[in-house]
Symmetry: C2
Amino acid sequence: MGLKTVKGGITAPLGYRASGLYCGIKQSKRKDLALIVSEVPCDATGVFTTNKVQASCVVINKEHLKNGRAQAVVVNSGNANCMTGESGFDNSRTMASQTARILGVRRKDVLVASTGVIGKPLPIRKIVAALPELVRQLDRRGSEAAATAILTTDKRLKEIAVEFRVGRRKVRVGAIAKGAGMIHPQMVPATGPKHATMLCFVTTDAAVTLPVLRSALERAVNKTFNRVSIDGDMSTNDMVVVLANGLACNTRIVERTPEARLFQRALEAVFAYLSKQMILDAEGATKFVEVEVRGAASDEDATRVARSVATSNLFKCALFGSDPNWGRIAAAAGYSGAQLDPWKLQIFLGKELVVKNGGRVKKSAAALNRVFARKDIRILLDLGLGSGRAEYRTCDLSTNYVRINSAYRT
Amino acid sequence: MGLKTVKGGITAPLGYRASGLYCGIKQSKRKDLALIVSEVPCDATGVFTTNKVQASCVVINKEHLKNGRAQAVVVNSGNANCMTGESGFDNSRTMASQTARILGVRRKDVLVASTGVIGKPLPIRKIVAALPELVRQLDRRGSEAAATAILTTDKRLKEIAVEFRVGRRKVRVGAIAKGAGMIHPQMVPATGPKHATMLCFVTTDAAVTLPVLRSALERAVNKTFNRVSIDGDMSTNDMVVVLANGLACNTRIVERTPEARLFQRALEAVFAYLSKQMILDAEGATKFVEVEVRGAASDEDATRVARSVATSNLFKCALFGSDPNWGRIAAAAGYSGAQLDPWKLQIFLGKELVVKNGGRVKKSAAALNRVFARKDIRILLDLGLGSGRAEYRTCDLSTNYVRINSAYRT
């Protein structure tokens, strides 16, 4: 598809600078404040958590993105600024307006994001005090600093950039992301009806119309981030935001063209990479698992089954223990709410068919143990009912996940 | 309400005998085969898992209970006889028919239950070979032996009996149960449309009409077992079965009478006790937790919120760590799918109001830590929207839960 991975992350596309520093929120004294800025105003859009408890940054970004325009994103980690009352909203607005003032851009052109503990007042003075230095540090090679400053329990930074051609012009898409726990995103456009804390910020120098930007983002997110579950807990702060500044000077990408499809596939590739990185970095996880469902009565049913298996604690404990206990997969499929006939169900662990005709297909224990001993495991369920398909990506549930999350705040 | 707890468990009511022994299924060599028999045929009914993958015992009992009659229940532990193909059904039928033959009762009057690993062929020969001895050991004080023989990962046996008066006659209800993992029951009558492995067998000497028996069972289960979640995983084998032999010789209990309500409350009390015992014995659990929801737009919405909080891995890790992280409670309420306005939401940890007006109510960390340090914790969410109410009972998610379930089979 003509996609090439390039260096530079979120600052790989033309006209973007980024920075990240420690402003005093995290007890660990790691970086906790990030800024991404385009030289010129961008076409912009986003998708947001469908949790009914939403952080003030989510609510404010939906307002700010109504006009399809933005130029900067300011992000703090270590505090979610969620369930913090009216003052929480005031604090998010202050983050945006103070950043706008220093950058000399419009308040509504600044987006805000927060991630961390819910319910604690945001230390807004520390943030405001650090903004001038944050702006001073803006850099054409600032992606890594920003990518580091948005992390919470993540162990590794997550960034990528890809390049492809639109006509004779080279176009780039760059992104950074965070997310290792409270990951079960179901994000929808601000205008839509539908939930994670994962954050992803995307920049592109492509010239692209707002309708293409919006539909490409929504479709790419539905195939990637919205098909990831680490722990089944949907956050109040999830968002993916895209800025497109047009500085690549390509012929503007319009709907229903090969270029629009290419742009969407570029986003999908970027999101697929970042969502895999999130799972590889998931709290306590030791395994990367893909659950594929085929033959469902509908795509919706396939999604129900894939989600049910990918969020089953018993299945995920079996993964951690490298125990090929497929009975737990069958049980989770059975309670998903999807149409299912156990006599037609087939289950594959890796390439090994283990369930057929309502019962097991006898395989050597050694062969199945080998599949579950891997770090990268693929499960396929064929329901034998129709042509519905879906895929979910997840990880195992480990004693370390419990340890990390029973001691997270105290 | 005139209910008195009495000794004797499932054999406390008149006319019942029970037994339990080791027949060779469990590697641990613990008891794995149980039998409960009434002297005379009983009015009988049951509720069963709504998992679409159902063990053969579930399917067969629904058939056998169509005529509202049964006289015996034969139960094995250590093997679920689920997803074991046609031969699995043959094996369950053989369990019933061989038991019937030895007891001299009709095949359809014998119910069957299995619990344990999914997908492994049932060692039916061992079971059949042990049946004569199982029948020989039937005893008026056999409740404990039967209660022990139905256990899997449970550490303690679960039995109870209560007594109350119907007119001048004393009537008794006795029950035994098992369940410590794969517990998220949603059971409905065989005739109904709706899911655990938990097993519960109930005997009564009350004379009661089948409609009263059926509605009392369904209502009592909906208020108790169907409001319990240990790990969110619904089993393929859950069932509650009631036998009523009428030997108390009370005036038969008919619908819409104070006696019918009393009978239902007796079942509720028995099930409430047994469901609490299941949670106290839950795999790895260190805490018993009640999640109460009030003020929801509807009872259904209240149930959604209570279930969402009670099954949130992050909330349950916080419970294990004794960390009063109410943000995770708010987030889980927000993604439940219920109507919710964060500005109207109130959250109480024990008696401490911690969330109001969209933000925290400042309380001393010591006070909140005290609440979460308890072994018995009550959480209340008031949504402030209507009069919908619901309650769920659950436990914490511990490192031991993960250890137990990553090593269960291997």
